[in-house]
């Protein structure tokens, strides 16, 4: 059972800052997106506009499914815009939402990451399941 503290913890307290998240611009090609995901060691990339509005996300799972479905040469795949293969309207959360709500949402949707966006749709961070659960446990 959660304590009072864990119940009131906010997403903004635990989310990863943008310096640790694969954030790519809308003109970036898939090969560069994959490299950035490798560098930041996360299975998700957030694709943003020039003014940092979240346009879509690309995940390991999406890429796996695409490889099986599309079947074009890697050289053609790599040069596609990452945005072409992104999920357009990903599930997001606000920095002021509670951590408990966020973790429940991730559990319900079977996802590991939630992009954190402000009221105007600007990406401000990423909530990863592991640190979120760890924060809740350590505050029990």
């Amino acid at each position: 059972m959660s304590t009072q503290k864990s119940k009131t913890m906010l997403v903004s307290e635990v989310m990863m800052g943008l310096d640790r998240v694969p954030v790519i611009k809308e003109t970036v090609i898939l090969k560069e997106a994959l490299e950035e995901m490798g560098r930041k060691r996360l299975g998700i990339a957030c694709i943003v506009s020039m003014n940092m509005k979240l346009l879509g996300i690309l995940t390991d799972g999406d890429i796996r499914r695409m490889l099986l479905r599309i079947q074009k040469p890697f050289s053609a795949f790599f040069v596609d815009d990452a945005l072409d293969h992104a999920i357009d309207s990903p599930l997001t959360i606000a920095p002021g939402d509670t951590l408990v709500h966020a973790v429940k949402l991730m559990d319900e949707k079977h996802i590991w990451d939630l992009p954190v966006v402000d009221a105007s749709g600007v990406l401000v961070g990423l909530l990863h399941l592991h640190p979120a659960v760890e924060a809740l446990i350590s505050n029990e």
């Binding site: 695409m66 599309i70 040469p73 050289s75 053609a76 040069v79 596609d80 072409d84 293969h85």
Partner: protein
């Protein structure tokens, strides 16, 4: 993907729009400018045919052929004389003109005269040429190198865009199939169209057998109509063909230029196939068999 339309023609010449759902445009002329008289004679003859067929047209002829096979092959009239003739053809016939250029230093002069500038296929990934073409501010006819995949042409497009130009026409002129042989992969048209820019089929260079005759290129002209019908049915926005009144004695690409006596027939077929394709899409809906998303 945004389907961009480009408009070729500045000043008082006819404006030729090339893009999605628009009538097929034609780019053609003798491969090289051989002389003022010959260039004018060809412009007049091709113009008559285009008016009869009802197709908009951009006159193409080059002032310098830098990719000839032999050192003594005809190179061209050169920048100054060649561009002067193209400028006069614009004025006389009121048609837009295009020439390629193979030295970045020739870019400004070419862009000053020509309504469209062409990047030769062999140079299609050379940053200096692409940048020089972009800086002319004219629409760019960018030919896919015979050694390039259609999807990698996006990198060349990005180089042009990075230099501030967003008016590109991407052309296929065949892809190397081993040595001295080209084939056409029609999937290159939808793939290159994914850039958002219109696409063109270069029919007369597609039937070329590059340097197959020792020190010159050969060609199989008999296949031009077949490939034109296939490309127009597949989906193109412009058709490129080099034509000559006397191919056997043409000073450049003698084995690939099409005799002008066939131009009306082939252009008419291309136009009909293009219009039929647009009608089919209108009637049966857009292609959406296996979308990537």
């Amino acid at each position: 993907m945004v389907n961009k339309t480009i408009e070729v023609g500045y000043g008082k010449v006819n404006k030729v729009k090339i893009g999605d759902k628009l009538p097929l445009a034609f780019i053609g002329g003798p491969c090289a400018i051989e002389s003022r008289d010959h260039a004018f004679m060809m412009a007049e003859a091709i113009g008559k045919i285009c008016r009869k067929v009802g197709i908009s047209w951009i006159y193409k002829s080059c002032y310098d052929k830098d990719c000839r096979s032999a050192p003594d092959s005809y190179h061209g009239l050169g920048v100054d004389d060649g561009l002067r003739i193209l400028a006069d053809i614009r004025d006389e016939f009121g048609i837009p003109v295009v020439s390629d250029f193979s030295d970045p230093a020739w870019g400004p002069a070419t862009g000053e005269v020509c309504d469209m500038v062409q990047v030769p296929a062999y140079l299609c990934r050379q940053t200096s040429i692409l940048r020089a073409a972009a800086l002319t501010k004219r629409p760019i006819h960018l030919k896919k190198g015979q050694f390039m995949s259609p999807w990698n042409m996006k990198n060349s497009v990005r180089k042009i865009e990075a230099a501030g130009n967003r008016q590109v026409l991407l052309a296929d002129r065949g892809t190397f199939f081993g040595y001295n042989m080209l084939v056409n992969d029609l999937t290159c048209f939808p793939i290159m169209a994914k850039t958002g820019y219109p696409v063109c089929f270069d029919a007369t260079h597609s039937i070329q057998l590059p340097t197959s005759m020792g020190n010159i290129s050969g060609g199989q002209r008999e296949f031009i109509p077949y490939l034109v019908r296939a490309a127009a049915a597949c989906g193109i926005n412009a058709l490129f063909m080099e034509t000559h009144n006397d191919p056997d004695n043409a000073m450049s690409d003698a084995n690939t230029v099409m005799n002008i006596k066939h131009l009306e027939n082939v252009l008419s077929q291309a136009k009909a196939a293009h219009e039929f394709r647009l009608e089919m899409l209108e009637k049966f809906g857009e292609d959406n068999v296996h979308p990537e998303k």
